[in-house]
């Protein structure tokens, strides 16, 4: 693992050129654009979870109809 880190570190130096430390999305953060990413992911997550909840409820209704012997 030490070898991998050292390779990673040496490659990092060549990639980042004269930069002292690895490049991170600091610009994106300071501009607040990171919130766009978070918002998009949150919307997708909410959408999928809402969908799962609705499927879950439909299954519950089906279970109740079968167990109560209600007309199908």
């Amino acid at each position: 693992m030490k070898r991998i880190i050292s390779i990673a570190a040496s490659l990092g130096i060549t990639f980042t050129g004269y930069a002292q430390e690895p490049e991170m999305a600091d610009g994106m953060r300071s501009e607040g654009k990171i919130y766009v990413v978070v918002a998009i992911l949150a919307v997708i997550l909410f959408g999928l979870v809402a969908y799962l909840i609705s499927i879950d409820r439909k299954v519950t209704k089906l279970e109740q109809r079968l167990n109560d012997g209600k007309p199908r």
């Binding site: 990092g12 990639f15 999305a25 799962l52 909840i53 209704k61 279970e63």
Partner: protein, 241 residues
């Protein structure tokens, strides 16, 4: 308070109820997508910001292992006491586990393309994971090829135990015995540099629990659907005979 009834004559409280663990899963996942992008991570070369993929890629594998383990435990229970009920639980957990595994391998390929240079590096961890998934695909091929439901349940339960026993060395042992680019492999368990970081652990562990709970949720819904299907088939059979 009078209970409202929906058009189908069911009490809303019965339809609306939601287990605490499902709510916990949602909360943990919301925390994962917000905290996962907004909280501090170590500044490392090559991986840079992609280190945040750890909150999504690795929990897929944790989820897969939990799903497959549950599947195997129910396969054992089936063999001890045969019944369609345990077979359905076993197969649906394997199903959900396979989805998690595919998501894990695809996300791993995207990540590898950026950090290792190619999507498929032929790394022992990648190859092992691919073989493990193929073994589990064969589980469904086996099930699909048998007409008799009892025979299908029994043979696939035995195969399921084999599949789990084969997956563990393929994913967790072989990559550690050889040199691997994948973190946590090549002799060292755990996540090494990432694992030492307190900030990352604060998101990583909740993320793992959240994704696992989501997988259990999906699996249970599928199990319930299969039970309904079985019951309908039973009623149809009664009607026709």
């Amino acid at each position: 308070m009078a209970k409202l009834k929906n058009p189908r004559g069911l009490e809303d409280s019965q339809v609306m109820k939601m287990s605490y663990w499902k709510i916990l899963s949602i909360l943990l996942l919301v925390y994962t997508v917000t905290g996962g992008f907004l909280m501090e991570v170590p500044r490392l070369a090559i991986v840079n910001e992609t280190i945040r993929s750890l909150y999504f890629h690795v929990p897929m594998w944790f989820g897969m292992v939990v799903m497959f383990l549950t599947s195997t435990l129910y396969a054992v229970r089936y063999l001890k006491k045969p019944g369609a009920y345990f077979d359905i639980i076993s197969v649906e957990f394997a199903n959900t586990g396979l989805i998690f595994g595919f998501l894990g391998i695809v996300t791993g390929m995207i990540w590898a393309n950026y950090t290792w240079g190619t999507p498929w590096h032929g790394d022992p961890k990648q190859n092992g994971a691919a073989v493990a998934l193929l073994i589990y695909c064969a589980y469904f091929v086996l099930r699909g090829s048998l007409e008799n439901s009892e025979q299908r349940a029994r043979l696939s339960a035995v195969y399921n135990i084999f599949a789990f026993a084969a997956m563990i060395p393929l994913i967790f042992i072989i990559p550690r015995l050889t040199s691997s680019m994948h973190p946590g492999s090549g002799g060292n368990p755990g996540f090494n540099t990432y694992d030492l970081d307190r900030n990352m652990r604060m998101v990583f562990y909740p993320a793992v629990i959240g994704w696992i709970l989501l997988g259990v949720w999906i699996a249970t819904v599928r199990i319930r659907l299969r039970n309904i299907e079985d019951k309908i088939l039973e009623l149809e059979y009664e009607k026709n005979h």
